[in-house]
Structures are given as structure tokens and as C-alpha cells.
């Protein structure tokens, strides 16, 4: 069996990701069409929330992936700091704009949902606030990569920023448990049957979540390939200047 670290070799990564991206991207599209289509067209209105319950198929998967994208960046950053594999640093860099986009989707759909249900677009609730801070961390992380010319120094500093931001990624996940005040409800998905959402909404929601997960994986792989090429281009230009 080949070692996991084999994939840290850019050439090997390019070979494998080239074959994987179309399949994962296709599966993502299929899950999104089925999950969102089922949720939007074929699920009933909630007795309290009316048709706004259909926003759940976007809001929950986007919020889930906004947090998990940062945690993926954390793992990739740790791999960079400990083992100095360039692909992991580039994967973290590639994931940041995708994670930031998913955070905006979660914040926007949350505000649109909150207005008719809570009577306000925004409230300084622990979960909402920690999510907004997470978004600012995403922006800071992207800006830091752009601001530093030397890629290794940029990878070092952004990795440290990622470690610090992980506190808010976890906080935004568990804020509802830490502080009871606030408007945001608890977890939508639960192993407790009483707490979990009704089966009518559960299955399409799971398919939507799978779609968002696969969408994230395929787009991050695709963007990492671009970052590897960009790094090679920079190296070739630098080599030519020295010659």
C-alpha cells in the first residue's frame, strides 16, 4: 500500500486530482440537484415557519462547510508547519476563498431567514457573532497570502493565523451550547430522535449536505491544482531571472 504522504508530491497530486475532480464534481452536482430540488419542490411547509423552512437546504450545509473548511485549512496548515509539504500549504490557500464564500452564503441565508422569523436581519447572538468573526478571519487569511511575496513565509504566517482562527471556527459551532442566550436555535441534526428535524426534511437535507461537501472537495482540488501551477510558474520565472 502506498503511503499517504505520497500525495504530498505535487506531480503525484496532479495525476490523481486530474482523474478525481470530474467525478467528485459530477457527484456534487448530482447531489445538489437532487437535494435542493427535492427540498425546494417536494417538501411541505413547516407549521410554524411556513415555506421559509426551505432555506434550511442552503443555510445548514453552507454553515457546516464554512466551519469544516476552516478545520480542513487547520489540518493542512499543521501539515505544512510540521512536515513542510508545499501541497498542503497550497491546499489551505485554495480552500480559503471557497470557505469564505460558504460563510457569506450562511450569513446571507441566515439573515434572510431571520427577518421573517425573528423580526430582524441581524442580532449580536453568540453564534452569529462568532460566524461573522470567522468570516473576517477568512478575509484576513486571504489578504495575508496576497500581501507576502515569499510563498514559504506567507505559508508560515497564514498557518499561524489559521491556528488562531480555529478558536472562532469551533466557537461558531458550539456557541449555542456555551451560551444559552441568543436567538439562534441549537443543532439542526441530532442523534436524539426528539431533537432531530422531521424525516420529511431530513433526507433531502442530508443529500444537500453531501452535495456541499463534494462541491467543496472538488473545487478545492481544482484550485489546489491551479496554485501548484502558479507556484511552478513563479519558480521558473525566478530561475530565469537568476540565470
Amino acid at each position: 500500500m502506498s503511503s499517504f504522504w505520497e500525495y504530498a508530491n505535487p506531480k503525484r497530486f496532479m495525476q490523481i486530482s486530474s482523474a478525481a475532480v470530474p467525478w467528485i464534481g459530477g457527484a456534487a452536482l448530482l447531489c445538489l440537484v437532487i437535494g435542493l430540488g427535492w427540498g425546494f419542490f417536494y417538501t411541505p411547509d413547516d407549521f410554524r415557519q411556513g415555506s421559509t423552512v426551505k432555506i434550511i437546504y442552503l443555510h445548514v450545509p453552507a454553515a457546516l462547510m464554512a466551519i469544516n473548511a476552516w478545520l480542513m485549512m487547520l489540518v493542512a496548515s499543521l501539515v505544512w508547519l510540521i512536515r513542510r509539504h508545499h501541497v498542503s500549504a497550497l491546499a489551505a490557500r485554495a480552500a480559503a476563498p471557497v470557505g469564505a464564500t460558504l460563510t457569506v452564503i450562511a450569513l446571507a441565508t441566515g439573515a434572510i431567514w431571520g427577518q421573517p422569523m425573528w423580526g430582524t436581519w441581524w442580532v449580536w447572538d453568540p453564534r452569529l457573532t462568532s460566524f461573522l468573526i470567522l468570516f473576517l478571519f477568512y478575509l484576513g487569511y486571504i489578504a495575508l497570502w496576497e500581501a507576502i511575496e515569499d510563498p514559504d513565509t506567507a505559508a508560515d504566517l497564514t498557518s499561524v493565523l489559521c491556528l488562531v482562527g480555529s478558536v472562532f471556527a469551533l466557537l461558531s459551532r458550539y456557541a449555542v451550547l456555551f451560551w444559552n442566550q441568543g436567538l439562534h436555535q441549537g443543532a439542526t441534526l441530532s442523534l436524539d430522535k426528539e431533537e432531530n428535524i422531521s424525516n420529511v426534511y431530513y433526507v433531502p437535507l442530508l443529500i444537500s449536505i453531501a452535495g456541499f461537501v463534494l462541491f467543496f472537495i472538488s473545487l478545492v482540488l481544482y484550485r489546489t491544482r491551479t496554485e501548484i501551477r502558479a507556484r511552478r510558474l513563479r519558480a521558473l520565472i525566478a530561475r530565469e531571472r537568476l540565470a
Binding site: 411547509d45 443555510h59 471557497v98 452564503i105 446571507a108 434572510i112 491551479t226 501551477r229
Partner: protein
């Protein structure tokens, strides 16, 4: 075709519209940057081979 969304139609439809727009935008930006970088790398490598 579109189900009856009642009095919350504008909220539901705008949530879907904003989300689709952002998803399409991040994919489009990623594809555009990928094509730019790939073309520049190809052109650079072709120029090096000629020399």
C-alpha cells in the same frame, strides 16, 4: 412549476438566488484563474523549450 411559497416567497427565492449566484461566482473565478495560470505556464515552458 414553482411551488406555492405563500407570504414568504420573496425570502425563499432571494435566499436561493443569492446562494446560486455566489456558488456560480466562486466556480467562475476559479476556472478563470486556472485558465490564466495554465496558459501562462504553457507559454513560458514553450518559450524555454525554443531556446
Amino acid at each position: 412549476m414553482i411551488p406555492d411559497l405563500g407570504k414568504y416567497a420573496s425570502e425563499v427565492l432571494s435566499a436561493y438566488a443569492v446562494s446560486f449566484l455566489l456558488l456560480v461566482l466562486i466556480v467562475a473565478v476559479s476556472v478563470k484563474r486556472s485558465m490564466t495560470v495554465r496558459n501562462r505556464l504553457r507559454a513560458f515552458e514553450a518559450r524555454r523549450k525554443k531556446r
